[in-house]
């Protein structure tokens, strides 16, 4: 890896580890301080490496600088609190605990951080922004880009979240065994939303979108590796993510544009991720309860089979029928209607679609346009036109214009 790429790469992999470990040492209320020290460590690398050359072991170099900075900070704090002369402090420095950057402590700290960031007292959207910042090492601009928002909004959201952390005295620790299931639910929702943000986001930056998804998978893997959180819901969420992520190589064409499911080359689907998803789905299927993650994972599983069979669409339809009963969303309602078309025929799907009342949704009109295509051309055209008026992304507008031209 060339030097200009090396530091951003290390930032993505090491910043979050340093922040988590520093936070564990200084206390979660000192999140800003932890981020500052981690950030300063990278600044030191930027100042030194171009002139003195990249050290043999760049990560070890970063860790040793971070350790020094942490020790100096502790000394300053002690100096501030105890008002002891610097000379005395130097003598006590031997007893200053060294920053523990062992793999084990990094893992523990990140897991604790995940639970602290996804605390129910923090609003959902702030949990996600904070997780992307301190657990994934995303820059504020990247987060703003992913959410189609601006720098100021995200910065404000982050600082409000940190304020809340202090107000609520949220500490970095794993919830007790009795409370873990409830806290896990909040964490899973945030990871699910981070993944969806990447998978369905309207931002055009495909690399950033895939990064979001892969980060969500990495954080979910942390929960799987920790036995108390290796539960059916966690595995179901993981299965869902793996099945979806298996299509990444087929989702973009040579020009970097999104390729729709029906047009994808299934030979490009990542079979190892599909098997990994199947393994987690199997592990998710213990016990009697099922969550929306189970149902969505089941739907995603059937989508890894490209062939259009009656069995496939009947299964997808029944999974959507159940999903909508526990978690309604307009997207699920539209997809259910599509599955109804494939399983029960167009006439039944048209009747169901006309009941949905999603007139403001561009995909609703796209679906109706398709459903009416061979029975009522005028109606089909009118729906495609309404869809075009409502479409928000360039890719959707292009796709609808193509359909209109073909009528």
């Amino acid at each position: 890896m060339s030097q200009p790429d090396l530091i951003p790469h290390l930032f993505r992999t090491e910043f979050r580890k340093l922040t988590a470990v520093l936070c564990r040492q200084f206390g979660f209320e000192q999140l800003d301080l932890a981020e500052d020290i981690a950030g300063d460590t990278f600044l030191a690398a930027l100042e030194n490496w171009p002139y003195k050359g990249v050290p043999k072991n760049p990560v070890a170099w970063l860790y040793s600088v971070a350790k020094n900075k942490a020790r100096n900070q502790l000394l300053r704090q002690q100096g501030f609190h105890q008002k002891i002369a610097l000379a005395l402090l130097a003598a006590t420095s031997a007893s200053t605990p060294e920053l523990d950057l062992s793999e084990e402590n990094i893992g523990d700290s990140q897991l604790q951080m995940l639970f602290a960031v996804c605390h129910p007292a923090i609003p959902q959207e702030s949990q996600i922004a904070l997780a992307l910042r301190v657990l994934c090492g995303f820059g504020i601009d990247e987060i703003a880009n992913a959410f189609l928002s601006n720098r100021e909004t995200i910065a404000k959201r982050l600082s409000r979240a940190k304020e809340k952390l202090r107000e609520e005295n949220i500490v970095m620790e794993l919830p007790p065994p009795s409370g873990i299931a409830q806290r896990l639910a909040t964490v899973l929702i945030s990871l699910y939303l981070v993944f969806n943000e990447g998978y369905y986001s309207e931002t055009s930056d495909i690399v950033l979108r895939e990064d979001l998804c892969l980060e969500a998978i990495r954080l979910t893997q942390m929960l799987i590796d920790y036995p108390p959180t290796d539960l059916p819901d966690t595995n179901a969420l993981m299965a869902l993510m793996c099945f979806h992520a298996s299509r990444f190589p087929a989702r973009k064409d040579a020009a970097g544009e999104l390729v729709l499911y029906a047009d994808q080359d299934e030979n490009l689907w990542d079979q190892s991720l599909i098997s990994r998803g199947a393994w987690h789905l199997k592990r998710a299927s213990t016990g009697n309860a099922y969550s929306k993650y189970h149902l969505e994972a089941g739907i995603a599983y059937w989508h890894t089979i490209k062939e259009d069979t009656k069995e496939k669409w009947e299964n997808i339809l029944q999974l959507y029928n159940r999903l909508l009963q526990i978690a309604y969303s307009p997207v699920a309602a539209l997809n259910r209607t599509y599955a109804l078309w494939k399983a029960n025929g167009k006439q039944e799907a048209i009747r169901a679609a006309e009941q949905l009342k999603l007139d403001k949704n561009p995909y609703y009109h796209t679906l109706l346009g398709e459903l009416y295509l061979d029975s009522d051309r005028e109606r089909s055209r009118s729906h495609f036109e309404q869809g075009l008026l409502l479409a928000r992304t360039e890719a959707d507008k292009k796709m609808l214009a193509k359909k209109l031209a073909a009528i």
Partner: protein, 112 residues
């Protein structure tokens, strides 16, 4: 928007259906409920098992099953959100239960 209970009344619950017929009904019921849920109007529901039922009468007299003197029995219910009793009745019309001769669905607004 009020909540309505759609109560399934079966004319003769003791009549046995073939497994194939049961499967068709099951799919139709799931598709019917899914259609209501897709409109964000489904609240909840349950089927009621015909097996091992008891009827407790005046004076605490217990008889097995709901099929003593009466032929009509309850098969289950769902609860839906609807703007009017007519809208709730429209939902009921789609139910496969009504394919059975003599079966009815009673639509009742939930009292708060």
């Amino acid at each position: 928007m009020d909540e309505y209970m759609l109560i399934f009344r079966h004319q003769d619950g003791s009549k046995l259906a073939s497994p194939e017929q049961m499967q068709v009904w099951m799919k139709q019921t799931m598709d019917w409920i899914g259609g209501i849920a897709a409109q964000n109007k489904y609240v909840g529901g349950h089927g009621l098992s015909f097996d091992n039922a008891r009827t407790v009468g005046h004076g605490g007299v217990v008889t097995n099953g709901p099929f003593g003197d009466i032929k009509e029995t309850l098969g289950g219910y769902i609860i839906v959100k609807a703007a009017s009793p007519d809208e709730a009745a429209e939902f009921a019309k789609g139910s496969p239960i009504l394919q059975g001769e003599g079966n009815t669905i009673e639509v009742r607004r939930m009292a708060h």
